[in-house]
């Protein structure tokens, strides 16, 4: 109990600190209670604000009038800037002016997105204060609302950026408020911010903006107006207001809704392709995982994590060394306003702070941990029965500091460290240490990254070195089965962009990955594919071995914009070289092309095709655990999709097909030998749709069908690929009958993953253990997983923050249906039992939102 008390104390301490350390005001009233808030302000503040507001309203009226006269193109043609604008408290009146038309025009927008509006006021106010004829277009900017689900479908990498998006607008992508230009491309790793100076310069340039090429969007009165397609050779940024992201929970939930995998619904989609070929990125660098095993939580708090890209195939050349899907997150940008988020319940705890120190400095801190684990240990430390079970344990830390030297240069440093552990039954007790009914694994990684970005005229450049380490260990079956893999490495990554003219933008990048890794094992690997092992060791390998490696990749793309057709094309190629498997050091060239065409307003077709390469994993290439000089795996991918918005409905559909070559497979007779004899294919489709009924209800549904088959060698039977999930479905419903109450329901279903039965087991007298031998996979699967989750939230709006008190029920009908995690076996594998995990969890929690 003392541990619980101490834990609560620490958490409350953190929350207190975050609450009182926030230097700027939070105004939840911007959602709709501006009047109420105003009454709470003191007289002096009111007077001052009223004065300012009068001035600003005048200025703003002038600005808006001027803007109308000069058309929306003005903003589009301004230069992107890397410096964030000076933060300033927004004033209520202009907020109302801006937000109301937004709500009317676009009922699909969520509350959190609306929160962004006052920050637009900041921009206006700043501009006025500088006595510059700022032509900010807050109204126009808010006209077109692309729901997050749709926005995520924007093939960021696949879109050529005739008009590059300004840096640090990642969150805005999620928040669905984008400039009027419907085909505004989303750029990867743009980490600068627009500044007041940038806006000033924008205004000057707007005077000469051409008024043509204007797709339509809606204006304040919800009527169509024209959108400006840039003509200038100077790239146009997304206006400053766009990067003011909110901490929209809804936004984040959509990330999950879009990814219907995972027993608890928070796992990412596997991309529909070969699971082992999928890649996940954080701040431009690959990471091994970002989600807890069982999906209890992700390892970085939602409020600071932005999903930039999710593609199941047919993506552009920037993503190298992957033959599956790609998903990219960033957490490199703070909002102009400070945000604090603290969430505590009995399952997990999260703390996130995103704050600005001054105009040029900002930071992010995120801590996540498993409350469940702490409570389990504390509450039952004296109960012998519970000592036999170690609950899932995960923790994550992310911290970032950013300094903007000027509008054209910035430097950020971030550290990320995550650990995810899982043990089933106690393996620390000596009496049971060598029994087979245990499963334990540990996954850890740490990143220390630096990013220096600068731009000069038409040229942008980023230097992104990374120092990282990974550690994976597993304990499966018996004590002797515990392979361990460690890697320490450094990535020297650079990205460059050159705006050639209004039609062509050239992107290029180089990444050098150099490091060492160690593989240790005293293991008989289990070939049951349900556990992810596919090898049969005839001999016990008790070795540890170090090795160094060097791998490099580069890419070049050309973003071509055909304004007359509203069409983007992005041809390009990547080149990989594997310095470790040096026999294949000549490298691999991957040509690819993607396209995006908005053939009807707000409805887009996208397509991509090309060659994709994944270098052989290091652990498979190290003898005696693997085979030296393995060749890369290849895929020829094609993807076609459509997405759009129609009134309150957003939708997307995507079809993909991949032909897989040169897949690495283990030799059935010689466990130390891998070969590139495998082939396969993968196909499927994804459907998603969302409906938003103003602020009252939101419904999201996503379904993915996947069929992925592999043949290990000539003459072998075709088998399901490891991790293949044919059907995955998730739906989420959020109902807000009154603003103080929120009801969330989500349901997930996914097919069981492939598994294989044990044929027989042999006793090894020397190791005093049994070695299982599995039959070849024949299509047998683990049971399907499905569950219904319910959350009821009561929201209290305070002066400077809001508090959510909620009750959450994971697995509402879990007592009647237990989702299986897999099978465990007795010491001689003659008997088995099904492992089920936490069928029902109920918790209450509290969340503070600044």
């Amino acid at each position: 109990m003392r541990k619980i008390t101490f834990l609560l104390f620490i958490i409350i301490l953190f929350s207190t600190f975050s609450l009182f350390s926030a230097p700027t005001k939070f105004e939840p009233e911007e959602i709709g209670s501006v009047e109420k808030k105003k009454s709470e302000k003191n007289e002096e503040q009111k007077k001052e604000e009223q004065k300012e507001e009068k001035k600003e309203n005048k200025k703003e009226k002038k600005t808006v009038e001027k803007k109308k006269a000069t058309e929306k193109s003005s903003v589009k043609n301004a230069e992107p800037a890397l410096v964030p604008p000076v933060k300033k408290a927004p004033s209520p009146k202009p907020v109302k002016k801006i937000t109301k038309p937004l709500k009317k025009a676009v009922p699909a927008i969520d509350k959190k997105a609306v929160k962004m509006q006052p920050q637009k006021k900041d921009t206006v106010k700043k501009s006025v204060a500088e006595k510059k004829p700022v032509k900010v277009e807050p109204v126009k900017q808010n006209k077109l609302v692309i729901p997050p689900s749709l926005e995520k479908r924007v093939p960021e990498k696949t879109l050529p950026a005739a008009v590059p998006k300004p840096e640090n607008n990642d969150k805005n992508v999620q928040n669905a408020v984008v400039p009027a230009k419907p085909l505004q491309p989303v750029e990867k790793n743009q980490n600068g911010t627009n500044s007041l100076d940038a806006l000033k310069s924008k205004v000057v340039k707007e005077e000469n903006v051409q008024k043509e090429n204007t797709p339509t969007v809606q204006n304040e009165e919800n009527k169509p107006v024209e959108t400006v397609i840039p003509e200038n050779t100077v790239p146009a940024p997304v206006i400053e207001t766009e990067k003011k992201a909110s901490n929209s929970q809804y936004k984040k939930e959509e990330i999950r809704a879009y990814s219907p995998y995972g027993p608890s619904g928070s796992d990412l989609s596997r991309g529909g392709n070969v699971v082992s070929g999928d890649a996940m990125y954080l701040n431009g660098h690959k990471v091994p995982f970002l989600y807890h095993y069982y999906g209890f939580s992700q390892l970085i708090d939602n409020s600071i994590l932005n999903q930039n890209t999710h593609k199941n195939g047919g993506y552009t050349s920037e993503y190298t060394n992957s033959i599956g899907g790609v998903t990219e997150f960033t957490a490199t940008q703070t909002d102009e306003k400070n945000h604090g988020h603290l969430n505590i319940d009995f399952i997990k705890s999260e703390l996130a702070i995103s704050a600005r120190i001054d105009d040029n400095d900002s930071f992010i801190v995120s801590l996540t941990s498993s409350s469940l684990d702490h409570f389990a240990v504390s509450a039952f430390e004296d109960e012998k029965d519970f000592n036999y079970t170690s609950y899932p344990d995960f923790s994550g830390f992310y911290g970032m500091f950013r300094h903007d030297f000027s509008k054209n240069a910035y430097l950020l440093v971030y550290a990320a460290s995550f650990a995810d552990k899982l043990k089933m039954l106690n393996i620390e007790d000596e009496e049971y240490a060598r029994l087979s009914d245990n499963f334990g694994s540990k996954s850890q990684f740490s990143h220390l990254g630096i990013e220096w970005g600068f731009k000069k005229e038409k040229f942008q450049f980023k230097i992104m070195p990374l120092f990282a380490s990974e550690n994976f260990a597993a304990n499966v079956g018996t004590e002797s089965a515990k392979p361990e893999y460690k890697r320490n490495y450094m990535e020297l990554k650079n990205e460059a962009k050159y705006f050639l003219n209004d039609m062509h933008t050239i992107n290029a990048g180089l990444n050098i990955d150099i490091g060492s890794f160690e593989l240790a094992s005293s293991s008989y690997s289990l070939p049951d594919i349900s556990w992810g092992f596919s090898r049969k060791y005839e001999e016990d390998i008790e070795k540890s071995k170090d090795n160094g490696y060097l791998r490099a990749s580069l890419y070049v793309t050309d973003e071509i914009y055909f304004k007359e057709f509203n069409l983007f094309l992005k041809p390009g190629f990547s080149y990989l070289i594997d310095g470790y498997n040096s026999q294949y050091g000549i490298g691999n060239i991957n040509p690819r092309i993607t396209a995006l065409w908005e053939f009807i307003k707000d409805i887009r077709l996208n397509a991509g095709t090309g060659l994709y390469t994944k270098l052989a994993p290091l652990y498979q290439s190290l003898e005696p655990f693997g085979t030296a000089n393995l060749e890369p795996e290849y895929a020829f991918q094609t993807s076609v999709g459509i997405d759009g918005t129609f009134n309150i409905l957003t939708f997307s559909a995507n079809v993909f097909y991949s032909k897989l070559y040169n897949l690495i497979s283990a030799n059935e007779d010689n466990p130390s030998y891998y070969s590139n004899l495998g082939e396969g294919w993968s196909t499927g489709f994804e459907l998603s749709a969302g409906i938003s009924l103003k602020d009252k209800a939101k419904i999201l549904a996503a379904y993915q069908f996947t069929r992925s088959r592999v043949t290990d060698h000539d003459g072998a039977d075709e088998r399901p690929a490891y991790g293949e999930v044919p059907h995955a479905f998730k739906t989420m419903v959020e109902i807000t009958p009154v603003k103080e109450w929120i009801l969330n329901l989500d349901f997930i279903y996914r097919s069981g993953t492939p598994t294989s039965e044990i044929d027989y087991a042999r006793y090894n007298s020397d190791s005093d253990s049994y070695i299982p031998y599995y039959v070849s996979p024949t299509g047998e699967r683990l049971d399907a997983v499905h569950e219904l989750n319910l959350k009821v939230t009561r929201r209290f709006f305070m002066n400077k923050f809001s508090i959510d008190a909620y009750g959450k029920f994971n697995g509402v009908y879990g007592f009647w249906h237990k989702n299986s995690l897999g099978k465990i076996y007795g010491v001689d594998y003659s008997e088995s039992a099904t492992v089920t995990m936490v069928p029902f969890m109920a918790t209450i929690g509290i969340a503070f939102n600044l």
């Binding site: 009496e431 090894n764 008997e831 029902f840 209450i844």
Partner: protein, 270 residues
């Protein structure tokens, strides 16, 4: 307020963990010695030279009167369970293992091969090392032998006496609450010997959780002791001892092992 807070905390934790338990009986029962199972394969010499004779034995639970199939290289034999499998390693390794293995033996000076055993749908194997005389002599110990087993405060169980019965009226009484068994596998080495005990009773009413106590791993220098409380009339005690053998001339080690088993029968005891 404090009372309500405490109540809520208790309620949530209770719900949380009432749903987190496993079916432990099911999981633990997977490791009971309920069926037949090979527990050990031993040889009288772990390191042998060509021309020497080697004797193999197998220990299995819940097996009686079964045929045992032995296979070493291209030699096979069927013997009754409880009988030994004896084979002489030929001078020419080609005869036993084929030309490739013989060449490898000549080039390396030693060769590890598996002896395979099958009985009642169970299979197992053990590795032995065939070495030339120089390498074989570099092992100061070539095998492991359990020298004695003793019930504390009772009497010795001499080697080769697998069955012992507590007769009614015996002058030595056995405390069922505190049964201590001591084993001695004394050798010239100070290296650890690993002991694996199975104290198995099919009639025990002990719960599954506690029955795992009967499957014990211990490690000690030459000797080890195990203690338990008896709640059944009939027990089988299986003991396996193993130790790594090392040589200055060969990098990898190889394991030697020995085993014993005996019964404890309280049915006639007062």
């Amino acid at each position: 307020m404090k009372r309500y807070t405490t109540a809520i905390l208790f309620f949530c934790i209770a719900i949380l963990f009432s749903s987190c338990s496993y079916d432990e009986n099911e999981l633990h029962s997977l490791n009971d010695l309920s069926g037949n199972r090979i527990l050990s394969v031993k040889s009288d010499k772990t390191v042998v030279t060509p021309g020497e004779t080697i004797v193999f034995d197998v220990l299995a639970a819940n097996v009686a009167g079964s045929d045992v199939l032995w296979r070493l290289g291209n030699r096979t034999a069927i013997v009754k369970y409880g009988e030994s499998f004896t084979i002489t390693v030929p001078e020419d390794m080609t005869e036993l293992l084929g030309s490739d293995a013989a060449s490898l033996f000549l080039s390396k000076g030693y060769l590890d091969i598996d002896v395979n055993v099958e009985l009642e749908s169970q299979s197992g194997f053990k590795k032995i090392r065939i070495a030339n005389k120089t390498i074989a002599d570099s092992y100061n110990i070539k095998t492991l032998s359990i020298n004695s087993i003793q019930l504390a405060a009772w009497k010795d169980i001499s080697g080769g006496t697998p069955i012992y019965q507590v007769d009614k009226g015996t002058e030595i009484t056995l405390d069922k609450e505190n049964i201590n068994i001591e084993v001695n596998a004394g050798t010239d080495s100070d290296d650890n010997v690993d002991f694996h005990w199975y104290v198995y009773s099919p009639s025990s009413e002990t719960s599954y959780t506690d029955s795992l106590f009967f499957n014990i791993y211990e490690s000690g220098i030459n000797t080890d002791t195990v203690a338990f409380t008896a709640d059944a009339e009939y027990y089988t005690v299986y003991l396996k001892a193993s130790r790594e053998l090392t040589s200055d001339m060969v990098d990898s080690s190889i394991k030697a092992e020995d085993f014993y088993f005996f019964y404890i029968d309280f049915s006639n005891a007062e």
